[in-house]
Structures are given as structure tokens and as C-alpha cells.
């Protein structure tokens, strides 16, 4: 059983089990209140699921891509929870969870060959995108390269063979789907995501040329 946390879009928390599926899930599409609601969501999911913390095998962190302020809250929470509970953290690319849920039911992953383009809001009038060439036999989405960032008008140029893909604009990421994807990755022995959050943007700062004159 896993506790899954994602704040790459809104806030989503779930407790999942490989056999029982999504046992409890809380989600909010609010793109600002992550730090406010995350604790309550974790607490409620654990209570509702009736799953003891000791019975969890790990914590799943959604690594984005996502706007940085919110994205960090979920990753910080996942790491801190895991530390307190003495459990490992595993990491999943948030777009992969969207694709996983889109290709089949998260409980019974289906195999697919349909090219899929997942697009989410990156704020500042930009979007994050990830391209998938269907799934493998186990229903695990097959991403083509890393996620990208561009203005919406540039998507057709940024995504190679754009017209091949069915485009899916998503505004939420389900932590339940993410948790089930983590279970499926584990069973298949596939790797989890890297430890670095997928901000896809450098901090918005430039080194100034020097002090300006005041007189």
C-alpha cells in the first residue's frame, strides 16, 4: 500500500493498494492552496482508508512538471512524511500518471498504441507537455523523451510529429492514478523518476549590471 501526493497542478492525495485499487483520495483543483490543505488531505485519506501508517510500503511523490511554488509543497510533504514514517519515497513524473489513467482504468491497465500528448498549464502563459507512444504490454505509458515547456502557440513546432498525437489538456493530476502507476512500475521492475523536481524553468532572476546612479 502506498500514500501518493501530487501538487503539480492542484492538490491530490491518495492511499492505494495494488489489489484493492484507490482506497481513498482527496483532490482540489485550487492552484494556490497547496500548503494549506495538504496536511488535512493526508490525514483524511489515512483515516478514511483505515490503513495504518505502519502498513504502508512507501510514499509516492509527484515530481511534476509543475509550477514551482505548488510543486514543492507536495514533494516536501512526501519526503517529510516518509522520514517520519520510516518509509521510502518513490518518484513519478506527474504527466505519466495522467497518461496512465487515460490509456486504461488504473485498476486494470490496458495496453494501447495510441500516441497521446499530455498538456498542462505552466502559468505565465506557457504549457508543459509530454508525448507518449502508447503503452507497453503491462499498460505502462511510454513517454518519448523528457517533458517540455513552451507557449501554447509553439506546441505544434515543439512537439515532433505533433499531428500524430491525440492531445489531452489536463487541469488535474490524480494521486490515486499516480499511486497505482507506482505500484505497476514496481511490479514491472521499471525505474522511478529522478530526485530532482521538474520545474523546467530557471529561477526568474538575472545578475544586474551593477548599481544604478541615483544622481
Amino acid at each position: 500500500m502506498l500514500l501518493a501526493i501530487d501538487t503539480s497542478a492542484g492538490t491530490s492525495v491518495a492511499v492505494v493498494d495494488r489489489d484493492r485499487g484507490i482506497i481513498a483520495e482527496r483532490a482540489s483543483a485550487d492552484t494556490r492552496g497547496h500548503a494549506e490543505i495538504i496536511g488535512t488531505y493526508i490525514d483524511e485519506c489515512l483515516r478514511e482508508s483505515g490503513v495504518a501508517i505502519a502498513a504502508l510500503s512507501g510514499v509516492v511523490a509527484g515530481m511534476g512538471p509543475g509550477p514551482f511554488t505548488g510543486l514543492r509543497v507536495g514533494i516536501a510533504a512526501a519526503r517529510a512524511f516518509a522520514l517520519g514514517a520510516g518509509k521510502p519515497v518513490v518518484r513519478v513524473v506527474s504527466h505519466d500518471a495522467i497518461a496512465f489513467a487515460e490509456y486504461g482504468s488504473v485498476q486494470r491497465p490496458a495496453s494501447s498504441t495510441e500516441p497521446l500528448l499530455v498538456v498542462t498549464d505552466a502559468r505565465r502563459r506557457e504549457v508543459y507537455w509530454s508525448a507518449y507512444e502508447g503503452t507497453d504490454a503491462a499498460g505502462l505509458p511510454q513517454r518519448v523523451g523528457p517533458a517540455g515547456l513552451c507557449v501554447p502557440a509553439d506546441l505544434e513546432r515543439a512537439v515532433p510529429d505533433y499531428s500524430r498525437y491525440r492531445r489531452l489538456d489536463a487541469s488535474t493530476v490524480s494521486a490515486g492514478a499516480m499511486g497505482m502507476l507506482a505500484e505497476a512500475l514496481f511490479v514491472a521492475g521499471e525505474p522511478f523518476a529522478d530526485a530532482q523536481p521538474l520545474y523546467l524553468r530557471s529561477p526568474d532572476v538575472t545578475v544586474s549590471a551593477g548599481p544604478k546612479r541615483v544622481s
Binding site: 496536511g39 501508517i53 510533504a77 522520514l83 548599481p211
Partner: protein, 354 residues
């Protein structure tokens, strides 16, 4: 009795309001661990704290800092009685990392969580001193850092803190950084100005003391302003350079520092006198400045004011001071904050528990 068995609740405090990831562990008023991971070096090339860089650094530093603090305190994480976290004021994105982590940690450990005001934390740091002296109240507190310049009247650490005044523009620490920059000195400015001021004449140039004129004193008796001072230094330096003269770096640095120290201590001492409170507590990173401390001591001695300055490791931002306030809240029977509180970048000092 070892420190780990000292009386009082065992509290782990998390502080992420600016560029320092602070994890402190206290039992009652006994300091067990004070781990600080600073992203200061990453901000140096920008001449000041970059909020996004600070927030990213908190995310990377939190887990190792918690682990290090637990080891330093000689406890197990599961031993703690409560978690405390700074909920404001501070940089929003930075605060949210600590708040998110603290909530998750509290749920994982099934322990109560206390949201604590950062500025009150700076005052609370004083209870962790192990020199056998005790904080006497009421006291006036002057908190000066790169992000804050606040004058408080503290009647009770957990129920009664009043904001007397604060900066209306730059924080004093920020003024040190900006003036260092225009003098061609690196960041952070405080220690650089100190170094440059060696041998300089603090009376060489009479830089302005912000909000000290009669007309300002009516509305801003205990408020501070440093942006005019920064501009005055810039103008003075530009005139020197324009006329082809060499800028007397030591005199400028010493005179600027004197202007900052003078106005800070003048207003703090005036508050003590006006309010009939013969006690002054200093806190915040600018306390590291020897001239500020020295001037405070001189003026307080002359006025019969008892001056308290916690050790520097507890004056800069740290998690131990946050844990210390939570420990006081618990001792006073205050209920925990629950899980629904926000990170509030402008949390007023009167809200001691967020």
C-alpha cells in the same frame, strides 16, 4: 541528568521563512540541536536573497537537516512530543516548503503541530540561553535582519506581543547589502561593511537618520526607514567619483554603519524610556554587527536598561527558536494549531500562534 532528559516537552522546530533552513530540537527551555543550512552562497552573485532560489534550496535541505538535528539531539524522531513550524511572516514560497513538510511530518508521527510567528520566535530564542539568567518581561525587543526591522513590546511570550514600529521600506540588513554593493563589496553586506569600516571615522560623514525629524516622529515614532540612507550614501559616493576624488571607503563604511546603529538603538532606547520598560532584547542577524552591539551596550548602560543579546547562533534564523515558542505554548496549555493553517507572508506579530 543529560540534556535529552531535561524537563518539558520535546519539540522539533522547522524554520524556512527566508534563506536559512533551520531545524531545532528543544526540551522545554533546553536546546538539544540547532542545525542550519543556508543558501546564502547561492544568492551572493545576485546581491540579495532570490526567493525562488531560497525555496528550492529549502526543499533540498529539509530532510538532511532534520536527520542531522535528530542525530545531534541524540533522540529518535518518534520521541518528539510536538512539531513546530514558522507560518509567517517571510517569503511565501519559502514558508510553504516548511509548512507542507511540517504538516506531513506531524501526521506521519501522529503528533500535535504548532504554527509559530517568526518574529516572536526571535524573542523566544532568549529562553534557550544556558547561562543561568532568565528573560524578564515585559521587555522591548529590537529584531533586525535582512528581512525585518521591528521594534516590539513583549509582555508575555505566548499571549501578548505588540508591534511598536517597523521599517517602512528596506530592512536594515538589506541596507547593508545595498550599500555594500554600491561600494563594490560582495554579499552579504554586513560583515563586508564591518571589514571595510576598520580604521574609518564614524563621524566623517553625517548620513541621515531616517524618520528622526520632529515631523516624522509624530506618525513614525518607532518606525524605521533605510532607503533614504542608502540613496544618501550613493549620492555622496557618486559626487566623490564625479569630481575625480578617491572614495574614502573606510570612512564611508564606518559612517554608514554608525547611521544604522545610531537610529536603531536611539529608537529602541526611546521606546524603553517612553514605556518605562528598562529591558531591551536584541535579535536577528544584524546583531552579529559588533558596532550595533557595542552602541546598544553603551546607551543601555547610560540609561540603566538591562540589555540581553542571545548567542549569535540563536539570533540568526533558526528552528530552535520556533521550537522554543511552541514549547512555551504547550506549557501555557495552548491547543495545537491543527492542520489547516496557511503560510502567511505578512503574519502580524500579534498573531503569536498561526
Amino acid at each position: 541528568m543529560s540534556d535529552a532528559q531535561a524537563p518539558g516537552p520535546l519539540v522539533l522546530g522547522i524554520e524556512t521563512s527566508c534563506d536559512e533552513t533551520g531545524i531545532g530540537i528543544v526540551r522545554g527551555t533546553t536546546l538539544l540541536a540547532n542545525v542550519i543550512s543556508s543558501s546564502m552562497d547561492e544568492h551572493a552573485r545576485y546581491g540579495g536573497v532570490v526567493p525562488e532560489i531560497a525555496a528550492r534550496a529549502h526543499l533540498d535541505a529539509l530532510e538532511p537537516a532534520i536527520t542531522a538535528a535528530v542525530a545531534e539531539a541524540g533522540i529518535h524522531l518518534t520521541d518528539v512530543d510536538a512539531i513546530a513550524v514558522t507560518s509567517g511572516p517571510g517569503l511565501a514560497g519559502a514558508l510553504m516548503v516548511g509548512v507542507g513538510a511540517a504538516k506531513a511530518l506531524a501526521v506521519a508521527l501522529d503528533k500535535p503541530l504548532y504554527a509559530v510567528n517568526h518574529l516572536v520566535g526571535h524573542v523566544g530564542a532568549d529562553v534557550l540561553r544556558d547561562d543561568g539568567t532568565e528573560l524578564e518581561l515585559p521587555t522591548v525587543a529590537l529584531l533586525v535582519s535582512g528581512g525585518h526591522t521591528s521594534l516590539l513590546l513583549v509582555r508575555d511570550l505566548v499571549t501578548d506581543v505588540e508591534l511598536l514600529g517597523e521599517t517602512i521600506d528596506d530592512a536594515a540588513g538589506e541596507a547593508f547589502d545595498k550599500v555594500a554593493r554600491l561600494l563594490g563589496l560582495p554579499y552579504p553586506g554586513g560583515p563586508e561593511i564591518d571589514r571595510a569600516a576598520v580604521g574609518g571615522d564614524p563621524g566623517a560623514i553625517r548620513f541621515p537618520r531616517g524618520l528622526s525629524h520632529q515631523k516624522d516622529m509624530a506618525a513614525h515614532r518607532y518606525d524605521f526607514s533605510f532607503s533614504g540612507l542608502k540613496t544618501a550614501v550613493a549620492r555622496w559616493v557618486e559626487q566623490k567619483r564625479d569630481s575625480g576624488d578617491e572614495v574614502p571607503l573606510a570612512d564611508v563604511a564606518a559612517s554608514f554603519r554608525e547611521a544604522v546603529a545610531d537610529i536603531l538603538i536611539t529608537k529602541a532606547v526611546a521606546a524603553c524610556r517612553d514605556l518605562g520598560v528598562p529591558r531591551l532584547l536584541l535579535g536577528g542577524g544584524v546583531v552579529a554587527n559588533a558596532r550595533v552591539r557595542q552602541l546598544a551596550q553603551e546607551r543601555c548602560d547610560a540609561e540603566g536598561i538591562a540589555l540581553r543579546i542571545p548567542p549569535l547562533s540563536l539570533c540568526t534564523d533558526n528552528g530552535a527558536m520556533i521550537a522554543a515558542i511552541a514549547s512555551q505554548l504547550i506549557a501555557a496549555g495552548h491547543p495545537p494549531s491543527g492542520l489547516a493553517f496557511s503560510a502567511d507572508s505578512t503574519l502580524p506579530v500579534t498573531t503569536i500562534q498561526g
